[in-house]
């Protein structure tokens, strides 16, 4: 069974107090000033959209794009669910930032040895059996921490208990293959700035379709190119030597073409 940890964020309950963002800053030893957008020093923020407040943070995808695109494997999908980043491997290509469907990873642009920064779902705390700092800090229970399967069941329960209060969709249940941050909303997600065009297929499949062809391509093309080289160049050499020596082929005496002699040089390797 799916025992990964996850967060359920219920937009109908969020009052926009910002306690989650503040607790996040403390937990990650980040500069305490309040920020309005995700940055290298703000792993989560609360944005107002009309009457509602929407938390921005890493979605900790089930099949994370960042994990798949990173050439050096600096991103890791942990068994507990959080997607974490091991900065010491990072070369700074920023493919993760280009590729992330939720545009989450942030860069330390002002530093001379910059790293990528994003929410870690408090991986250290989670491993120690604690909940994330944001879930702990939320006074309204708008962000709750738990097992993903249980949170999905809870989300479904809330929707069926109050069908008029919720838009009938759990954002993150299936988007890009499913995420470990789940959202419930009172109105349709497109109105709240969520991307609804992402589809349910995990993006890493798209590049893997190209990458998995490489071994066959290399072997097949290598053989074809080598074969072409041998055929074309050997024919040219043989024709040349026949032309030169004027001898007939011993196995094909009626062949009017001429045969090479040994002193004309060996077959080209």
């Amino acid at each position: 069974m799916d025992r990964q940890r996850a967060l359920l964020i219920d937009i109908t309950r969020c009052i926009g107090c910002g306690d989650c963002a503040e607790a996040c800053k403390t937990a990650n030893s980040l500069p305490p000033q309040v920020e309005t957008q995700l940055s290298a020093t703000a792993y989560t923020v609360v944005e107002q959209k009309g009457d509602y407040f929407i938390r921005k943070l890493c979605r900790h995808c089930q099949e994370p794009t960042c994990v798949s695109v990173c050439p050096v494997g600096a991103f890791v999908k942990t068994a507990e669910g959080p997607v974490i980043y091991e900065g010491e491997k990072c070369i700074g290509c920023r493919y993760c930032m280009t590729a992330c469907p939720f545009a989450v990873p942030r860069y330390e642009w002002t530093k001379k040895a910059p790293l990528v920064r994003k929410c870690t779902m408090c991986h250290e705390r989670v491993k120690a059996g604690k909940m994330t700092a944001c879930a702990e800090a939320c006074p309204e229970g708008a962000t709750v921490f738990g097992y993903r399967d249980e949170l999905l069941a809870e989300a479904r329960r809330r929707i069926s208990a109050n069908p008029d209060g919720y838009f009938k969709h759990i954002y993150g249940e299936s988007e890009v293959g499913g995420t470990n941050v789940l959202f419930l909303a009172p109105v349709q997600f497109a109105d709240l700035g969520f991307r609804t065009d992402l589809g349910d297929i995990a993006l890493p499949n798209l590049t893997w379709e190209a990458l998995e062809k490489i071994p066959n391509f290399v072997v097949a093309s290598g053989v074809i190119l080598g074969g072409l080289w041998w055929l074309i160049n050997r024919r040219a050499t043989v024709d040349q030597l026949r032309h030169e020596t004027g001898q007939k082929h011993p196995e094909h005496p009626h062949d009017n073409r001429k045969l090479r002699t040994p002193q004309a040089g060996g077959d080209r390797s």
């Binding site: 695109v69 494997g73 070369i91 860069y107 798209l206 190209a210 080289w229 074309i232």
Partner: protein
């Protein structure tokens, strides 16, 4: 002659200015970091150094593998005279790509990390390995020119044996690398505009690189012949024009088939920036060169071919920039390169041109090179004759650059 000298002095002055400005930008880039010296942001993490220096640089180096395949695998000896310049362009191009990456990477001192930390699911790992391996292969492919200059016979004969292997490796690595730069963008189906996003991006990148590889050889042959007062081998250039035409028509068919297949044709006729850039790209990169080269009068004239090829090169650069930058601007945000990004790119291109000119003057790059006193090898020389021990000094036995 005096006029030429004057012109040269002007360009030398320009070169010095470009290098000085570029060095200032370089110091600023590494002293102040990426944020202060580029137009990049969290919204637009890739800019000119990726879109122009890396993406376009690699594509423009494609002449190296296409010409070496024609000469060595398909035994089309006719193209031998443009082989070394094509290899040299590819070699310099790839060096500049690697240097460009050093500017763009956030932690360039860890550029070697992909050697030990390998994520096989990452297209970027494929890109990194292709750059490393193909750069090595290109160095080996160009080294005969150096051996020939030094008159090191032993090295030459060793190179002769390994050449077929090198050429096949080079073709394989190039095919993988050109296509992998397209594969990089398979992961952004929701960010890249439908005029460019396609599951066939790897194929499109490969075919367009092949076409522009021929175009680049035409451009550099034409410019070299002007700069060094060298006789242009017209039949070779004209055949390259034909090859470019075929590759461009093939590319046009692929592009059209792809756009129709994905139902993206309507985007071509919307009044958007993307549609404008698309038509500029197609116009410069495909329509104009195809029309020009299809006209026999233009095709038979080196200058006409040169302009057609130059147009194809411009179109390709625009294509790579559209895929890497402008095609994603609507979803990501706006970006304009800083003066540091522009001047570093201009400096790298200028250094490449200078290195090319230096190599042409000092190494036997163009098989027949009057300024080095090398004896001209006529195309009629047959392989075994040139390979004869007595003949090699009179007709320097290049693995690349002279006849096999």
């Amino acid at each position: 002659m005096s006029k030429w000298r004057e012109k040269l002095t002007f360009w030398r002055f320009m070169f010095v200015v470009i290098i000085v400005v570029g060095m200032v930008a370089t110091v600023r880039r590494f002293a102040l970091g990426l944020g202060a010296t580029t137009g990049l942001s969290d919204q637009v993490p890739w800019g000119m150094w990726i879109g122009f220096d890396v993406m376009s640089g690699v594509a423009l180096a494609a002449g190296g593998f296409t010409i070496s395949a024609l000469v060595y695998i398909f035994n089309l000896k006719k193209f031998h005279s443009v082989l070394r310049p094509a290899i040299l362009t590819a070699f310099l191009g790839y060096i500049l790509v690697a240097v460009g990456l050093l500017f763009d990477l956030g932690r360039p001192w860890f550029i070697w990390h992909p050697i030990i930390f390998r994520n096989p699911h990452s297209v970027m790992l494929e890109v990194a390995w292709c750059v490393m391996l193909y750069l090595t292969v290109l160095a080996f492919e160009f080294v005969p020119a150096l051996f020939e200059r030094l008159g090191w016979r032993r090295g030459m004969s060793v190179m002769k044996i390994v050449t077929p292997v090198l050429v096949i490796l080079g073709v394989l690595l190039s095919s993988l690398h050109q296509s992998s730069l397209g594969s990089l963008f398979l992961i952004v189906p929701n960010k890249l505009h439908p005029l460019w996003y396609s599951s066939r991006l790897p194929y499109l990148f490969f075919v367009s690189a092949m076409a522009v590889g021929f175009a680049m050889v035409i451009v550099e042959s034409y410019l070299s012949s002007r700069a060094f007062h060298k006789e242009l081998e017209r039949p070779v250039i004209i055949d390259l024009g034909r090859a470019m035409l075929v590759a461009l028509v093939f590319l046009a068919v692929l592009r059209a088939q792809d756009l129709i297949g994905r139902g993206s044709v309507s985007y071509m006729f919307q009044p958007t920036t993307e549609a404008g850039l698309f038509w500029l790209e197609i116009g410069l990169g495909i329509i104009l060169p195809v029309v020009l080269v299809a006209i026999p009068k233009v095709r038979m004239h080196p200058q006409g071919l040169y302009y057609a090829a130059l147009s194809a090169v411009m179109g390709l650069i625009l294509n790579r920039m559209n895929v890497a930058i402008t095609g994603m601007a609507a979803k990501l945000g706006n970006y304009f390169p800083s003066w540091e990004e522009i001047s570093v790119s201009v400096m790298l291109v200028s250094l490449g041109l200078a290195a090319f000119a230096w190599a042409v003057k000092n190494l036997p790059v163009f098989g027949a090179s009057p300024w080095t006193g090398t004896v001209v090898v006529t195309p009629e020389v047959e392989p075994h004759e040139a390979a004869g021990p007595a003949g090699w000094r009179a007709a320097p036995q290049g693995v690349f650059g002279t006849r096999m």
